[in-house]
Amino acid sequence: MRSAALTLLRHLTNVLALVGALGVIAMLLHVTVDVISRQLFQRPVPATVEIVSRYYMVLISFLPLAWTERRNEMITVDILSGLFRGPLDRINMAFVHLLSLAAFIFLAYTTWSAALREYEAGSFVMSLSVAVPIWPGYFLLPLAFALASLISAVKLYLCLAGREREPESEAFFETDNGGPVQ
C-alpha cells in the first residue's frame, strides 16, 4: 500500500519534470522562430516576450519543484554536516523537512489567493496591440507548491517513522536521469 503510494508519487513527479522539459523545448522553439521570422520575413512572432516570461518561465521554474524536492536536490549549505550523527541526524532531518513543509504550504496558500485575485481581475498585458491574458500562469504556482508540500510531508513521515533507508524509500528518492549515458 505504502509502496504503491510512493511509486505513484514518484511517477507523478517524473511527469512534472517531463512537462518542465517540454516547456524548455517550447521556449527554445518560440524564441528561435521569433528571431528567424523577424530577420527573414520582418514578421516577429506576436507576444513572444509575454509568452516566454509569463508562461514558459513560470512553468519551467516552478512546476518541477516537487520532482526536485523528491530527489533531495534543494541546495543546502552543508558546512556543519559532520556534527549531525546518529539520532541527532534524524532530529535534524525531521526539523528540515518540517520547515520545508511549512514553507511550501505557506507558499501554496498565498500564491493560490494571488491566483484567484488575478483570475477575478482577468489580468492581461498588452503586447503591441494584442491583449495577452496572463492570469492562467498564476495557477501554476499553487499547484507546484502544493505538490512540493506533499513530497515534504512524505519525507517527514518517512523520517519520523525511521524508514528513509528502506529500499522502497531509496527507490522513492532515486535521481536517475533516464539511463546511463557515457
Binding site: 523577424r38 520582418q42 514578421r43 516577429p44 507576444a47 513572444t48 516576450v49 509575454e50 494571488a114 485575485r117 488575478e118 481581475a121 482577468g122 489580468s123 492581461f124 498585458v125 498588452m126 503586447s127 503591441l128 496591440s129 491583449a131 496572463i134 492570469w135
Partner: protein, 350 residues
C-alpha cells in the same frame, strides 16, 4: 503616522525626485505634522510589482501604472490609448486627474483593487530616437521601432514601420545590437536609459504623451485610517507633487536631455510635412479603433462617451492653462480649485 511611500524607481527618475520627495516634504506641512513619509527603494517595490505591494500593505502609497495592470484598471488604462491627443504635458496631467476623479467606473475599479486615486501626471511629448535619419514617410517604412505601448505600436503599423516589443530595460541593448533602429519615447530616455550613447537622431515628430499614470495610489486601509482632514492635507501635498513631477518629466528633463544630446553630437531632424500629415490622419482614424479596442479587449462599455468626456477635459485644461500660464504654482492652484476642492473627503475612496 509614517507612511511607506514607493516611487518604484531610483532617485534619478522624476517619479522619485521630485514626485515622492515633494510628497514626503509637503505631507507634514499640510497635515500639521500628523502624517510623514518614508521613501522605499525599487528593491522593495518596482512598477512591475506595485499592485501586489499596495494590496498587501507593504507599500501604503505607490506609483501605480495602469498599463501594467489593464485587467484591474481598464478604464484608467484606456486613457493611455489616447496618447496622441497629448500636446502639452500639464494639460494632460490635469485632464487625466480630473477624468479619474470624476469617472464612476474608474473609482469602482480602484475600490476593487484596494486603492484610492490621488492624482496623475504626464510625460513630455514623445518623439522618435533613431540610429538612422528619418525625413519622409518612405524613410520610416520597414524600420524596427520599439513601442512603449499599444497606441505607439498602432501608429508604427499605420505608417509602415514594424513595431517591436522590447522590455524597457532591454532598449539599450536592443539598440546597441541593432535589433531595433529606434524607439518611440521621451527625449529624456536619452539620458535616463543612456540611449544618448547609441541614438544618432532625434526626430521631432510629436507622438503624444504618456499620461495613463496614477502617481499616488493610496492603500485603502491606510486611507480609511486617516481623518477627513488628513485626507484633505494628503491630497494638497500630492497635488503639488504631481504638478512638480509633470514640470520635470514633461519639460525640464527632456530639455536637459536635448541639450546633452546636442553636445554629444546627435542631430535633431524636423521631418517633412508629409510625416506630420500622415500622423494627423492616424490620430483621427485611430480614435475609432480605440472604441473597438475598449470594448473587445478592455471590456469597457460606453467607450465612445468616455473618450468624448476625456477629449472635453483636454480642451478644458488647454484653455485653463492658456489663461494661468505654465508656472507650476499657478497650475497647482488651478487643479486644487477645479478638482480637489470639489472632492468630499468624508466619502471619497471609502
Amino acid at each position: 503616522e509614517e507612511l511607506r511611500l514607493a516611487p518604484g524607481a531610483p532617485p534619478s527618475h522624476p517619479a522619485h525626485t521630485p514626485l515622492y520627495v515633494t510628497l514626503a516634504e509637503e505631507l507634514p506641512k499640510e497635515t500639521d505634522g500628523t502624517l510623514t513619509g518614508n521613501i522605499l527603494g525599487p528593491e522593495v517595490a518596482n512598477v512591475g510589482n506595485m499592485k501586489g505591494a499596495l494590496q498587501s500593505g507593504v507599500v501604503q502609497v505607490g506609483n501605480l501604472l495602469p498599463l501594467y495592470f489593464p485587467g484591474d484598471l481598464p478604464n484608467s488604462a484606456l486613457m493611455g490609448d489616447l496618447a496622441f491627443l497629448g500636446r502639452d504635458p500639464q494639460v494632460m496631467g490635469a485632464a487625466m486627474t480630473e477624468y479619474v476623479v470624476t469617472c464612476e467606473d474608474c473609482q469602482e475599479e480602484f475600490k476593487k483593487l484596494g486603492a484610492v486615486f490621488a492624482g496623475a501626471g504626464s510625460s513630455d511629448v514623445y518623439v522618435l530616437l533613431t540610429t538612422k535619419p528619418v525625413r519622409t514617410p518612405d524613410d520610416i517604412k520597414g524600420m524596427r521601432l520599439r513601442s512603449g505601448g499599444s497606441p505607439f505600436a498602432r501608429w508604427a503599423e499605420y505608417i509602415g514601420a514594424s513595431p517591436v516589443n522590447v522590455p524597457v530595460n532591454d532598449t539599450f541593448e536592443s539598440m546597441s545590437q541593432g535589433v531595433i533602429d529606434g524607439t518611440m519615447g521621451s527625449a529624456a530616455d536619452l539620458t535616463s536609459y543612456r540611449l544618448i550613447d547609441l541614438a544618432k537622431y532625434i526626430i521631432d515628430l510629436p507622438l503624444g504623451t504618456y499620461h495613463a499614470t496614477v502617481n499616488f495610489a493610496v492603500n485603502t486601509d491606510a486611507w480609511k485610517a486617516m481623518s477627513p482632514e488628513q485626507r484633505r492635507g494628503f491630497v494638497r501635498a500630492a497635488n503639488k507633487a504631481n504638478i512638480a513631477f509633470t514640470q520635470t518629466w514633461g519639460y525640464e528633463r527632456s530639455n536637459v536631455a536635448r541639450e546633452e544630446a546636442e553636445k554629444a553630437g546627435l542631430e535633431v531632424i524636423k521631418p517633412d510635412q508629409a510625416l506630420f500629415d500622415v500622423t494627423e490622419s492616424f490620430v483621427e482614424d485611430d480614435l475609432k479603433a480605440v472604441v473597438g479596442i475598449a470594448e473587445s479587449q478592455y471590456g469597457i462599455t460606453d467607450a465612445e462617451a468616455k473618450i468624448a468626456r476625456f477629449r472635453e477635459l483636454v480642451e478644458k485644461w488647454t484653455k485653463i492653462i492658456d489663461e494661468v500660464g505654465h508656472e507650476p504654482e499657478a497650475i497647482a492652484a488651478a487643479t486644487q480649485k477645479e478638482v480637489w476642492d470639489k472632492v468630499d473627503y468624508e466619502s471619497y475612496g471609502m
